[in-house]
């Protein structure tokens, strides 16, 4: 033994890195490949660290809202966590809309914001804002990191919290001096988390048995599924299909849940809710057992609450205990992951000799009666492009293609949900809970980053598209061939529709005046501009859009005063839907429909 004994080999010790390097290393170690961001003073050290990291691809957006929506599109279409990197102050506040959007729609995001140095916090420094204060109610969780020693743990925990349980956005606010400070880096598998957070994944077996017994005795069951099935991964969609096949029950879904159950399946009723399928809403109203899986009884789904599915027992399966009985009292609540609970229910169903799926023939006969009403019917035109027709042609011309669809918010979004058939989960990205105009284009960019060889179409309106039009520049920079199909009716169509139906046709500030020339606009950005304003030219224009290997802005001039039907008007029940029958007085339709079919 000598006094000069060598110290232990350094490779067993945690490496000492700067805060900025820890952040970048943590991103890599959590499987991140792509992040969306915008540099600024308070994140320059992180951008410096990114400069040396070839494993991370950074997409430079044109506005921080675009970064959050792009990350949402990336996350929603890939099942991975979307990552956003923005600076302090305006960088953070611009990101807030997308963060709330992700919270409402349960999209896993990790948002890294720069902050002024710790010594300046609270001094109204340049580009300072109380980011954690502003985003506390906008996030699933947020943290201001005051010491570099805490960074690796906070970063790894952020990914875990964002992706597990009910997914959501987690924001990590990092002062600039913490990005420069040095600390030991800990890997995700060795770090000790400080929170007791442990979401429950497996449903209570007793409740599951009870639920299955209830469904087995039902004469008019319905499966009402939501975004939770998609968040639970592709296995959950498989389990849903299997359980539906075994039980023979009809399936409807929320806007967020489209694609979990194939639109081509005979058991598919179409979307539920305010602009949902006539048959779906009537089946929801008249069912005797409702099985809600990963949905949350949103007011756009339920319509008038005290008249919502009055005769049914409700089974509610959700990973978020606060969702159960929040709006509608559940007779049986099951807390757990949608996929695991559906698999357990399938096993419980199989364990006994149940009635065959064909036992529901009377229920299906009723449903067929509602289907015969053809609730999505619209008046065709040979002079004007009907927006519904445009979407039907898009569906026809993309059939069999590897297609992902995003939307903006409004009438076009509802028509897209009605007329585009989704066969697989993760193919449909839309802003459901928050209803954020401007979501679709940046979301499409995120989707295209996750699926470089797939076809990505943003179904847009002329008003929504202008809210994040600047991201066309991003698409051009990264050669992302996203297709923006603008159903241009020169109105904020959904606002106009409500003003027509509910505000005495007083069209207050809903006309899209002074529209840009979208073809020239596309060309100015370096993208392809297309236009069609006659039904005869529609197919060629859609085909040209699809055939292009560049980003395309397609100005599809549609009929101006088209309304989105069917529609559950305010304060009405599911069986009080308005239909869009051509030439028939709306009031007469609702009465006769109500009397004849309910």
């Amino acid at each position: 033994m000598t006094l000069h004994q060598p110290i232990a080999s350094t490779d067993v010790q945690a490496p000492v890195l700067t805060g900025a390097e820890i952040i970048v290393r943590a991103l890599v170690d959590n499987g991140v490949e792509v992040l969306f961001g915008y540099p600024g003073g308070a994140v320059l050290p992180i951008y410096d660290a990114l400069f040396h990291e070839p494993r991370l691809q950074h997409v430079l957006v044109r506005h921080e809202q675009g970064a959050t929506h792009a990350a949402e599109g990336y996350a929603r279409s890939s099942g991975k966590v979307g990552v956003v990197l923005v600076t302090s102050g305006p960088g953070a506040t611009n990101a807030v809309t997308g963060i709330v959007d992700a919270l409402m729609d349960s999209i896993p995001l990790v948002i890294i914001t720069g902050q002024v140095p710790t010594g300046l916090i609270g001094s109204d420094a340049f580009q300072e804002c109380d980011t954690v204060g502003i985003t506390r109610s906008a996030t699933k969780h947020n943290v201001l990191v005051r010491r570099a020693e805490d960074l690796s743990r906070v970063m790894h925990e952020a990914f875990r919290i964002a992706a597990s349980g009910r997914p959501g956005p987690v924001l990590v606010d990092i002062p600039k001096d913490v990005q420069f400070a040095k600390a030991a880096y800990e890997r995700p598998d060795t770090v000790a988390f400080t929170h007791a957070y442990a979401p429950r994944l497996d449903g209570d077996p007793a409740r599951i048995r009870e639920a299955v017994e209830l469904i087995a005795r039902a004469e008019r069951p319905i499966l009402y599924t939501g975004g939770g099935v998609i968040n639970a991964g592709p296995g959950a969609s498989k389990s849903l299909r299997e359980f539906a096949r075994l039980t023979g029950a009809p399936v409807t879904s929320t806007l967020m849940g489209l694609g979990a159950f194939p639109a081509s399946d005979a058991q598919w009723l179409g979307m539920v809710g305010m602009h949902g399928a006539y048959e779906a809403n009537h089946a929801m109203h008249d069912c005797d057992v409702m099985v809600c899986v990963g949905a949350r009884f949103d007011d756009r789904v339920t319509g008038r609450l005290d008249a919502f599915s009055p005769g049914s027992k409700k089974i509610h399966i959700d990973i978020d205990p606060s969702s159960i009985s929040k709006i509608v009292r559940a007779d049986i609540g099951v807390v757990g992951d949608a996929g695991r609970v559906l698999a357990a229910m399938t096993a419980a169903w199989r364990a006994k000799n149940r009635r065959p799926a064909s036992a529901l023939s009377r229920w299906w006969a009723e449903i067929d009666g509602w289907r015969a009403r053809k609730g999505f019917a619209y008046a065709p035109s040979s002079e004007q492009i009907k927006p519904q027709h445009a979407l039907q042609r898009l569906a026809a011309l993309t059939a069999g293609r590897d297609l992902y669809v995003t939307t903006e918010v409004g009438q076009h979004q509802m028509w897209a949900a009605q007329f585009l058939p989704f066969q697989e989960p993760n193919r449909w990205m839309t802003s459901g809970g928050l209803g954020t105009m401007g979501y679709g284009l940046p979301a499409a960019i995120g989707v295209q980053m996750a699926h470089p060889n797939s076809l990505v179409v943003d179904v847009a309106g002329e008003a929504s598209i202008q809210m994040c039009i600047q991201e066309l520049s991003t698409a051009v920079q990264y050669a992302l061939p996203v297709k923006v199909m603008i159903l241009n009716n020169e109105w904020m169509g959904m606002v106009r529709q409500w003003q027509q139906l509910l505000h005495g046709e007083r069209y207050s500030h809903s006309y899209s005046s002074s529209l840009p020339d979208f073809v020239k606009l596309a060309e100015a950005y370096g993208a392809v501009g297309l236009r069609a304003d006659h039904p005869d030219d529609l197919d060629a224009a859609i085909q040209a859009m699809l055939d292009s290997d560049r980003p395309v802005l397609f100005d599809c001039r549609v009929s101006k005063a088209e309304n989105c039907f069917p529609m559950i008007p305010s304060g009405k029940a599911h069986n009080e839907m308005l239909l869009g029958d051509v030439g028939v007085d709306i009031g007469a339709v609702i009465d006769s429909a109500g009397r004849a079919l309910v």
Binding site: R136, H141, Y197, E505, S570
Partner: protein, 187 residues
């Protein structure tokens, strides 16, 4: 398009406004939370954002080693609202455990209150006598005033306040409810 709809619907709205009020109850929730910056804001913000009432709120670090604090919040609401408040509390990442102390037979609730009473003559004597019955302590006195310190359940403190009011009650300061469970076990 007919605007018959507008005529039949007196309050056009995108939302269902038909909800009827329900009878409310009171609950005392004790939440054990990770003691880190912002956690109180998150709890209080949740109440504010979702429109729940806070009747009283107490918070302090209670386990230095585990870095946990205890937040006791007294709230009102219909039964399903109280259930939802509890679920929303449990959803907060820093919240480790929530107990409905009010509904727990083993739950103990206490408040501490300070009362300033000003008066002379018979009122002053009566105030002292009532304080004695309630086992309140006199912690300050002048020729024309007392300050009483009283500990007890909310109802006892409310009762004391009612009795002191005609005797010259000037000011009240209350801690809000503290809570703990009887027996040797934690939580």
């Amino acid at each position: 398009m007919p605007d018959a709809l507008a005529d039949t619907d007196p309050a056009p709205s995108a939302y269902d406004l038909s909800a009827a009020p329900e009878p409310e109850g009171r609950a005392t929730f004790a939440a054990i939370v990770d003691n880190e910056p912002g956690v109180l804001h998150r709890v209080v913000g949740m109440f504010a954002a979702r429109g729940y009432n806070i009747e009283s709120l107490t918070v302090a670090e209670t386990d230095h080693a585990a870095r946990t604090s205890r937040i006791t919040v007294v709230t009102r609401g219909a039964p399903h609202v109280l259930e939802q408040i509890r679920a929303q509390l449990e959803k907060i990442i820093q919240v480790r455990q929530v107990t409905d102390v009010g509904a727990d037979a083993e739950g103990v609730e206490r408040e501490l209150a300070l009362f300033k009473v000003r008066g002379q003559g018979a009122d002053r004597v009566e105030a002292l006598r009532v304080a004695d019955i309630f086992r309140a302590r006199v912690i300050d006195t002048t020729h024309e005033s007392f300050i009483f310190e009283l500990t007890g359940a909310t109802a006892k403190i409310d009762k004391f306040e009612t009795l002191m009011r005609p005797l010259g009650l000037v000011e009240v300061s209350r801690t809000g409810v503290l809570s703990i469970r009887r027996g040797p076990e934690r939580g």
